[in-house]
């Protein structure tokens, strides 16, 4: 799976804004309060602050740039409409990522693409195995295999590594007990590990051969 190319030179040093820091969370509270009261400028600031993280979460889930664009828009629209019911017992970012995750899941279920995509990628991998074994390094392999994992395993890896969240934050976003998060992370990494092992074995055989 090819990533969307980074378009501008500035984006080469691209980073995700730290939406989990206390400072941002504090500013969020004020902007959320203003947004609840109907202040669209305040909401626009919230959008700008969180859109990259939300977009990246959604993009890694649905794996299509155009769909990620649409779902990110839907996520923020749902957030705007649901803001009056946001009770503030979780951080705004946590609540927002929960909406984004649910929207992504809905999309995946609707199109049933998750399975089809896995099958497609699997068959492609079978076909291109030889080429891949020579051309791709560990990082590319892990990134490609990430996209073939079941959605529930993929999301914990995305949140843990791409969005650098703690177990507690992940549990809150996915509304699952921490024990389940641990189990899912364990299984997700184990799946990646198995595939990496197979890849390395093959590489060794090839080198010796």
């Amino acid at each position: 799976m090819n990533d969307y190319p980074l378009q501008s030179p500035q984006s080469l040093s691209l980073s995700l804004p730290d939406a989990t820091s206390t400072c941002t969370a504090q500013n969020d509270v004020e902007l959320v309060a203003a947004s609840v009261a109907g202040d669209q400028d305040a909401f626009a600031q919230l959008v700008q602050r969180h859109q990259r993280r939300v977009f990246n979460l959604v993009f890694r889930m649905v794996q299509k740039y155009e769909e990620a664009d649409e779902i990110t828009q839907e996520t923020f629209l749902a957030a705007w409409q649901g803001l009056p019911s946001f009770r503030g017992d979780a951080r705004f970012s946590t609540w927002l990522y929960r909406i984004a995750y649910n929207c992504s899941l809905k999309q995946l279920e609707q199109s049933k693409r998750d399975k089809a995509l896995q099958a497609a990628i699997q068959s492609r991998i079978e076909l291109d195995k030889q080429v891949q074994a020579e051309a791709h390094d560990c990082q590319t392999l892990v990134r490609e295999q990430l996209s073939t994992l079941p959605a529930k395993y993929r999301v914990v890896l995305i949140l843990r590594h791409l969005q650098e969240m703690t177990y507690e934050e992940i549990a809150e976003i996915l509304t699952m007990p921490i024990g389940t998060i641990k189990t899912h992370l364990f299984r997700a990494r184990n799946l990646l590990k198995e595939r990496l092992e197979a890849f390395e074995r093959e590489l060794n055989t090839r080198t010796r051969g």
Partner: protein
């Protein structure tokens, strides 16, 4: 330590989720087990590979598109707020039962209030059970009694609140409680 246990702990180790004692035990095992060291190496490779995945740039007009849709779509907050109330019939019945139990408990420990209960026939089952339990409570020392009542009262209070709070809050409360338990 067995390798099977170490395999489970390796990921928690990399995520800084182990206690100091567990880290020590695991590191001791690692120093003597090449298989688990190899496992750790692989997991580290995977973590590094995941960590360096570059964020993707969102479309340049994303904010604009979002705000356009925000402007065009009115909020439907009121429907949602009404959706939370009233509580379902089952929840109301639960609350009524729990509140009745609480009331009976209060009357039971207040001798002056016991007279208000309609137990004209002293021989029916309910009155007998009621009086027996009142006597039983009277025989316990007062400090123990206060503790028992305090605990029961708290539990009933929590149960009533949860019954009224609705399904969503109830489930998140239970999840919160579960997370507090040592895993």
């Amino acid at each position: 330590m067995h390798c099977s246990k170490a395999a489970i702990q390796l990921q928690l180790y990399l995520d800084h989720q182990l206690s100091l004692d567990q880290i020590r035990a695991l590191e001791t095992h690692l120093s003597s087990c090449p298989t688990c060291r190899q496992e750790l190496l692989l997991l580290e490779k995977i973590n590094t590979a995941l960590q360096v995945i570059e964020p993707v740039v969102e479309p340049p007009d994303l904010t604009e598109n979002i705000m356009q849709r925000v402007t065009l779509s009115p909020r439907q907050c009121c429907e949602y707020t009404y959706g939370l109330f009233p509580p379902s019939l089952l929840e109301i019945v639960t609350v009524v039962v729990l509140a009745t139990i609480t009331m009976l408990g209060i009357i039971l420990v207040q001798p002056s209030l016991r007279g208000t209960l309609p137990h004209a026939n002293q021989h029916d089952l309910l009155s007998t059970a009621f009086i027996t339990s009142a006597h039983l409570l009277g025989s316990v020392s007062s400090s123990t009694l206060i503790w028992i009542l305090w605990v029961i009262g708290t539990l009933l209070g929590v149960a009533i609140t949860l019954a009224l709070a609705g399904k969503e809050i109830r489930s998140s409360w239970f999840r919160g409680m579960l997370n507090q338990l040592p895993v």
